[in-house]
Amino acid sequence: MSEQWKISRRSFVKGTAAAGALAGVGYTTDFGFKGLKEVSAENAGVTEVFRNACPRNCYDTCAILTTVEDGVITRVSGNPDNSYTRGKLCVKGNSYTRTVYSPDRILYPMRQKGRGTGNWERISWDEAFTEIAENILKIKETYGSTLPICLDKYSGNFDVMHYGIEGTLSSIGYTTRATGTPCWPAGIDAQTFDFGTIVNNDPEDMVNSKFLILWGVNPAWCSVHSMYLIEEAKKRGCKIVAIDPILTATASKADMYIQIKPSTDGALALGMARYILDNELYDGDWMAQNSKGYEEFFGYVKNNITVEWAAEKTGIPVAVIEQLAYEYATAEPANIWIGYGMQRHTNGGTNVRAIDALAAITGNIGKTGGGAQYAQLETWAFNYHAMIFNPPEGSQGGADRPINMNNFGADVLAANDPPIKMMWLACRNPIAQDPETSVVKKAFEAMDFIVTADLYMNETVKLSDIVLPVTTPFESPGLNASYWHYWLNINEQAVKPLGETKNDVEIAMGLSAKLNELSPGSCTYPTSGDLDEWVEKECNSGLYKMFGVKDYKELKQKGTVKAVSNLVAWEKGDFRTPSGKYEFYSEEAESYGHHPLPVYVEEMATPKEYPFRCFTPHWKLNIHSQFQNLDWMEAINNKPFIEIHPKVAERMDIKNGDSIKMYNDLGYIVVPAKITGTISEDIVVVYEAWYKDKNFNVNYTTKAIPADMGAKATGMPGIAFHDNFVNIVKA
């Protein structure tokens, strides 16, 4: 008891040491930021406001207004013209001035003398391009193709111009590509089998729901603008049910929270389906007109599923399942938001199919306020001009070689004929974020040459040979769509690029110039171009029509525009499956090795030696390895922790703050304990994040276990992140 008091007692004088040490890169920032600036816009020299967009891997993809005084960003805010952003940014968006002006920012190209030594020296862009080009040409000569060069790029920046990174590699020849996506592919496949592709209702339509199930999704932390819409729906009489193994901040706002046994969501959905079938609460007309295979589905449910079985599997009482099924089936309209966290299991994809089926049997698809929401890529109707370049004449290899992004380390090491010898990493941080960190490190060790393009000295950059400094969204132009809402946001260049930073497209151009200088014709990427013009080149008449603008000029003038039609998914019943109907019975699924119906696939069993399931959900102060490292964010929280149930803590004599070692056969981490009753006894929770100066990476314990689905739509199966079994002990 007495130790607790010592930890929490407040000292008499609240003197705090300044945070934010300079990274050991040997330069100082030019921007000295003054505190307590009481200067108003009128006093400053020139004040301008620019429109920017947040390009992060986030549902909300906010429209931002950036105030620039005398060439320096002094604040950001949400753009009120965007009815989804509503003029507000999240905690991450509000910290953007620190993203730009952090003293840790990499401002010049640098070369590391001895990989991993931290001995970085500044080089010029010319030197950087030369060394990279020479390495590329050497590989071409040695191996006859550029296949030994591997690109690992994903979601660090979803602004359309950043597909120029793929373009960079396409323009030098055929290369190896880390293929797939770690986060959401199982659900994408599921919805692809069921609907033909992923399309969700405009999230602003959620306010029209009368019953909304938040299934394994945590918008309070991951999509706070949608959380507002959920509260609006509540105000209009919508009943909110949260189904989640963890009582999240979102679930804490629901009318009802159901603590489901992890990975058994499909069983709950099927149990509900059985009840709906037995009580004839299904919409027979809708199914007859719009679906294929409902008789087979009902046959499966009738012969294999009982509510009692579902109760046993999920840990949820029969009465609750029945009540839930009844309320869901009779509400008009009823909505389900399927979270990406929910499908990060070995049976994630098939669980999504079962939930989709619930929406289908009750005729809740294609309705305002209804549906099974997951994601959409409809609004990404770009030309991908920055990306699409052909390899140079005479390139060998035949085609790009895909390797599994979700088993990156192992796949890189296993690549043969030719082996992988060089890596290009941009918009991605595999050393921090990939499972099986030690294997990824081994893969890095096997490389002759590693190039990273990044903002900060993160764990991946620390293990590279050359790092190229990149611009933030405020320093170069672009265009952004969201995979959730239906807005298109212009991104203007608000300030000049800091230091010698370059946009990824500029990097591609510079590299192309150098390659062609050393070996004419070795790169097809244009060697110059106006970035603003390139943004316009991403647009086409289809895009303009979709967003109700005449041309690029109007798009730029408005800054943020919303799609004018097709805001209710599948309203016309125009499913994009082979049959043109919603497919309960999917031969496509069968062709990928799955059962054609949304059946229940057993969840991964808990091994005896590792009795705790470790969830690694998203943290509220970051997007993966972005933002938590900023000084303003560290002032709120600067250490990771493990959430442990009080009964477990009691059993193991663990108190708040005790050092805990969490381990399995793969690796371990040591973090302080946080005791909370918002989780269940059989799980522990460690939020994934990159803490700049801490030796913390939960992925030392995460195995690259594949999820069941993902190969169809994204080329590779997803990762069952939340099927990580561990044990804990006091450290």
């Binding site: 007495s2 008091w5 010592k6 929490s8 007692r9 407040r10």
Partner: protein, 274 residues
């Protein structure tokens, strides 16, 4: 760091007030002190006060603006303390100028005024800390403890100087010091037991104290050993010589520094969440 300057300033200023009151009282009670010794004692008290005031300035973020601290006498105990100790400093100075032959009566009068000012100054110092936001301090204890420091240190200091200067013997210094130490122990015990069973912030403060090694060190150095020394001399009705008095004084002083350090560092403030 900020706490160290307050620890030093408060103990030193209370030593000065206690010494001043003792000096005045000795004359008021008819004891004869030579002019030279009187001047020396007064100057030393002036010097101690000056050092204390300078140290107190180092607690401020902007010491050169400290003069502004006189502006909120209507509300702020700190403002009031600053005024009192400024007046106290002036009083000592004027008192010093009275150490001439034949100025005895004036001197006793100035001494009385200075003693009152000084005592009030110590009380105001204590009142600064009587804050609802600091539950362990939100009672008379800061004032009491500060006055006890003056009582504990002042007379023993003055005695040490007088005995060293061979001015006089103070037959009752051992008894007086003994009584002062016992009062100190009782006050601390009473306070500690009260806050131990008080609100959360109060009991946390008590826990912090008991868990600190300084607490136990202070008991030995600041109470037990001096207590033993004075008890011995009181019991045996022996005179204390200069070196033993100085030793006892140094231990008492160290004890008060430790106690004051504990005062500032163990307190638990009201906070969100407690």
């Amino acid at each position: 760091m900020g706490e160290l300057s307050l620890v030093l300033f408060t103990v030193i200023s209370q030593l000065a007030v206690g010494a001043f009151v003792t000096l005045w009282m000795l004359e008021a009670l008819g004891k004869k002190i030579s002019i030279e010794t009187g001047k020396m004692l007064t100057i030393s008290i002036l010097g101690i006060t000056a050092i204390g005031l300078v140290i107190s300035l180092t607690h401020l973020g902007h010491p050169f603006k400290a003069y502004m601290a006189l502006t909120n006498v209507g509300n702020s105990w700190l403002s009031r303390e600053v005024i009192m100790f400024s007046l106290f400093f002036a009083a000592i100075l004027i008192y010093f100028l009275q150490w001439k032959d034949g100025m005895q009566n004036t001197r006793k009068l100035i001494g009385l005024v200075g003693a009152i000012i000084g005592t009030v100054g110590v009380i105001f110092s204590g009142m600064i800390y009587v804050l609802p936001a600091m539950p362990a301090w939100n009672n008379f204890s800061p004032v009491i403890f500060f006055l006890i420091t003056a009582l504990l240190l002042g007379p023993v200091y003055v005695s040490s100087v007088l005995v060293w200067r061979k001015e006089m013997q103070l037959p009752n210094i051992a008894v007086l010091a003994l009584v002062a130490i016992i009062i100190s122990i009782l006050a601390s015990l009473l306070h500690l037991s009260t806050i131990s069973s008080g609100s959360i912030a109060q009991s946390m403060t008590a826990t912090n104290m008991l868990a600190s090694s300084v607490f136990w060190l202070r008991i030995v150095i600041g109470w037990v050993i001096p207590l033993a020394i004075f008890a011995h001399y009181a019991y045996h009705k022996q005179q204390m010589n200069a070196s033993i008095l100085v030793t006892a004084f140094v231990m008492l002083l160290a004890g008060e520094f430790m106690a004051r350090e504990l005062f500032y560092s163990t307190v638990v403030a009201l906070q969100i969440g407690l």
